[in-house]
């Protein structure tokens, strides 16, 4: 069979490893609201982390409604080659983490070395998203849903 969980997992992992940013969608009082975020995806694909200021709109949105959606994709690599692009939508619930585990910070900084002071600022919080579902779109129209 062509589609299997192992293959999908490595596809997701590969895109997370080779692309830098994700798009986060939150609920802004009933309206969709999107941002670019620097993120870290856990190896088990169950959680995604990012840092944000406590004063941002996305932070406030998450406080009101923790259900979010995140998009990652490889369009940076394949530019205009529509049929080679894979897009991964994650659905999940965000929570605000008060104590940042050293291990998470280190891994986050290995992806975003320039953001050391950003992750340490008292203004900023670590957000963890527990991912409940992946929607993987490849070959332009093939759509497979997966629970991590």
């Amino acid at each position: 069979m062509a589609i299997n969980k192992k293959g999908l997992r490595s596809q997701i992992q590969a895109i997370a490893d080779t692309t830098h940013f994700a798009v986060l969608a939150t609920d802004n009082d009933g309206f969709p609201y999107t941002n670019i975020i620097g993120y870290l995806l856990d190896d088990d694909l169950k959680s995604l982390y990012f840092f944000t200021s406590r004063h941002t709109r996305k932070f406030r949105n998450i406080q009101k409604n923790p259900f979010v959606s995140v998009l990652i994709d490889n369009r940076e690599i394949y530019a205009d080659k529509t049929y080679l692009i894979t897009a991964i939508t994650m659905l999940g619930k965000a929570s605000i983490i008060d104590r940042v585990h050293k291990h998470i910070r280190q891994r986050y900084l290995s992806r975003y070395m320039e953001l050391g002071s950003f992750t340490e600022s008292s203004f900023n919080k670590l957000i963890k998203i527990d991912i409940s579902r992946y929607i993987v779109v490849s070959r332009f129209q093939e759509v497979i849903e997966m629970e991590p």
Partner: protein
């Protein structure tokens, strides 16, 4: 721009290898060293690149390639892919600067004389790979428009089935490949041959082979050559060998071969030595063992191409082997047609008649075992013929498709099928009888009720007609005991609910045929008409051959089933004989619905949209009916969408009740696709995971034009939607 896009042989330098390909480079070296080579030029890889970058062609190619994982494609699907890409190429105009450059170069060098248009791939002719014959060459092309068209066809052959199969196993990547094209003055070959400067069997010697006429017969192995072995040091002839029968390829396109009775040898010994001496000098130019093709007119001699003798073993994998075996060949196909028409079909019919004459219930146990063994023997014999002749004969359809597209450049690569469709399919005729009952039931309330409640029709006015229908079904179907009055009534009942007047608009085939033939040059007409004729017959046979196999299988199943009933009364020896024959049958049955290992859907994985090959256009929506077993066929409800591994001709009676078909098996010419087009319902084939992800009852949306299936399923969600 001419210098970038076109280079004359006399201008090509060693540093041009990357843009001209080694074949052109070698010819240039040979000509520059003073040996006779038909004059020519190279349309460089830059020309190809400019072409595919124009009009978004490169993106269209990627789109086709990415539609499905190449490793999951059957050879037949690769053929469809190849046809689609080649058609893009033929249809796309080349950019004006490229057109002007080629026109200027061609007119300056050749004027209006006929030329050969050949591939020169950067990957061809290397010592490690054996690309020979993978890309196309065209002979005897005349006039700038025809030359341009054939350049596009050589570019298209970068995506020939052979090339795709070859590359997917080696480089695995089809995206950034390119090809140069050689245009050379055409030589009308009187005799031709090949020189191997080193004999692979004995490195102290070399070999010359020669045939009358064109080289194609020698290269593809259909014409046995005269052969000389020469000493490399002295260029003296060590030994020579002549073929038992002398053949000549008269026409390299139709591959027409004739036998020569006069026994003349194409080369005198003096000429053999002279060619070998020149070949050794050419070998010196490249510093490697070389094989060189040559040709002669009545009074001129030419070297045609040189390439290194590949040292790597030519190991063919399954697909490549198949691709070689199945390469279309008009003469071969005509021979197959004759055999099918005169021997195979009448033979099958005779064995079907024989089986009908056996009264299985009445004969003794011994006689029954004897008959079962005989029926099995017949079945196995025809099964072999099916694989040896009937399956390869389907290539007549593909050969015609390629020819049609190269001449007509149609908007859809599969337009040629319109010329082949027929009302003469056995399965369609049988369905017409079912449809007639459905129509009657719509008008006659009593009949409708009988059918809906599966009551007996014995005493009604339709009794005899229904019995006839049942008899035909029992004879045709390989489902044996599943064909009951009640089951067939179930199907008619569903037809009646899904009944639409036969609104089928037949394509005006006469008009299409006229247009096609009108578009051919005088010299091509015979070939075009011959190919169409062959393809029509092959298309018709595509479904009917399976029905005949079903008719051979059906009495065999009945005989085994009767033996099963009598099992307890059989002697031990008889039981053994029955068991071994039955095992042999199970292993060889062509019925695809035999118990198959079902693939399980992985937990926590769901398909929302699947894609496949659009094989019959239109859109539909409805509940899925997944066919895992024979019994599932009789459960179909009107307007459901059939999801199956593959539609067998014996299953097609359910199609008029359905609103669409989805098949795991891929291709435009498989039974499901043929029958879906016949009934004008959408069909998507080659959906690798259809049977895994779709469950009976799932609500589906089908786009038969794009090949997209959307699956609606109600399930618990852990996230608000």
């Amino acid at each position: 721009m001419m210098g970038v896009f076109c280079k004359k042989f006399s201008e090509i330098l060693g540093s041009d290898s990357k843009i001209c390909g080694p074949k052109a480079l070698k010819l240039a070296k040979i000509i520059q060293a003073g040996f006779p080579v038909p004059n020519g030029l190279c349309v460089t890889i830059e020309g190809y690149r400019a072409f595919v970058r124009s009009n978004g062609l490169d993106r269209k190619i990627i789109k086709e390639i990415q539609k499905k994982d190449i490793d999951a494609m059957r050879w037949e699907e690769i053929w469809d892919l190849s046809l689609a890409i080649k058609n893009f190429m033929i249809q796309t105009d080349i950019p004006k600067d490229l057109y002007d450059a080629i026109k200027e170069a061609v007119l300056a060098l050749f004027g209006d004389v006929p030329v050969a248009v050949r591939s020169s791939s950067p990957e061809e002719d290397s010592e490690k790979t054996s690309f020979a014959g993978i890309h196309d060459s065209f002979l005897n092309i005349r006039g700038i428009e025809e030359i341009i068209k054939h350049i596009k066809m050589v570019w298209g052959s970068l995506f020939s089935t052979a090339s795709i199969v070859y590359r997917k196993n080696r480089t695995g990547w089809l995206h950034d490949i390119s090809i140069a094209v050689i245009i050379q003055r055409m030589i009308k070959s009187d005799r031709s041959g090949v020189v191997f400067t080193v004999n692979p069997m004995d490195r102290a010697t070399g070999v010359i082979e020669s045939v009358w006429g064109y080289n194609q017969g020698l290269v593809d192995g259909t014409v046995e050559p005269f052969k000389w072995i020469l000493d490399r040091k002295t260029a003296e002839i060590d030994s020579s060998n002549r073929p038992k029968k002398i053949f000549m390829m008269k026409d390299p396109f139709s591959h027409e071969i004739i036998e020569l009775k006069d026994g003349r040898v194409p080369l005198e010994n003096g000429a053999v030595k002279e060619i070998f001496q020149d070949a050794l000098k050419i070998e010196g130019l490249f510093n490697q063992a070389t094989d060189i093709e040559w040709t002669m007119t009545e009074n001129e001699f030419f070297f045609l191409q040189a390439r290194p003798i590949t040292t790597g073993k030519d190991l063919l994998d399954g697909d490549q082997k198949k691709d070689r075996e199945l390469r279309p060949d008009l003469a071969k196909l005509s021979g197959i047609r004759k055999k099918i028409k005169n021997e195979i079909l009448p033979g099958m019919q005779e064995d079907i008649r024989y089986a009908k004459g056996i009264d299985i219930q009445k004969i003794t146990d011994d006689a029954l075992i004897h008959e079962a063994k005989k029926l099995l023997k017949n079945y196995l014999r025809w099964k072999q013929s099916y694989w040896d002749y009937l399956i390869p004969f389907a290539h007549a359809i593909r050969m015609f498709g390629d020819f049609y597209n190269s001449k007509m450049a149609p908007a859809s690569p599969h337009a040629y099928i319109g010329l082949l469709e027929t009302d003469d399919l056995i399965s369609v005729k049988r369905n017409a009888r079912l449809l007639r009952f459905a129509e009657l039931a719509q008008k006659d309330k009593d009949l409708y009720e009988i059918i809906q409640k599966h009551k007996s029709l014995k005493n009604s006015v339709y009794g005899k007609e229904f019995q006839d229908l049942m008899d035909e079904f029992k004879e045709d179907s390989s489902f044996g005991e599943a064909v009951t009055d009640a089951n067939i009534m179930k199907i008619i009942g569903q037809y009646a609910q899904n009944f639409k007047k036969n609104t089928k608009v037949l394509v005006d085939q006469d008009h299409l045929k006229e247009k096609f033939i009108g578009n051919l040059k005088e010299a091509e007409k015979k070939l075009g008409i011959g190919l169409l004729d062959l393809a029509k017959e092959a298309y018709n046979l595509r479904d009917n051959d399976n029905i005949l196999m079903g008719r051979l299988e059906s009495p065999l199943k009945a005989a085994f089933s009767e033996l099963q009933k009598r099992y307890q009364d059989l002697s031990v020896d008889q039981q053994k004989e029955y068991a071994s024959s039955y095992q042999n049958f199970l292993e060889n049955s062509m019925s695809m619905l035999q118990a198959k290992q079902r693939k399980k859907k992985p937990a926590s994985l769901f398909a929302r949209q699947l894609t496949g090959q659009p094989a019959s256009s239109g859109t539909a929506e409805g509940k899925a009916r997944v066919i895992h077993h024979q019994k599932d066929l009789f459960e179909i409800k009107a307007s459901e969408i059939i999801v199956c591994d593959a539609i067998e001709p014996n299953m097609t009676f359910v199609i008029p009740a359905a609103s669409a078909i989805i098949e795991r098996r891929g291709g435009m010419l498989i039974h499901g696709a043929i029958i879906a087009r016949e009934y004008k319902i959408p069909c998507i084939t080659g959906v690798e995971d259809a049977m895994v992800f779709i469950k009976t009852g799932d609500y589906l949306h089908i786009d038969g034009d794009l090949g997209i299936i959307t699956i609606e399923r109600t399930r618990k969600v852990s996230h608000p939607s």
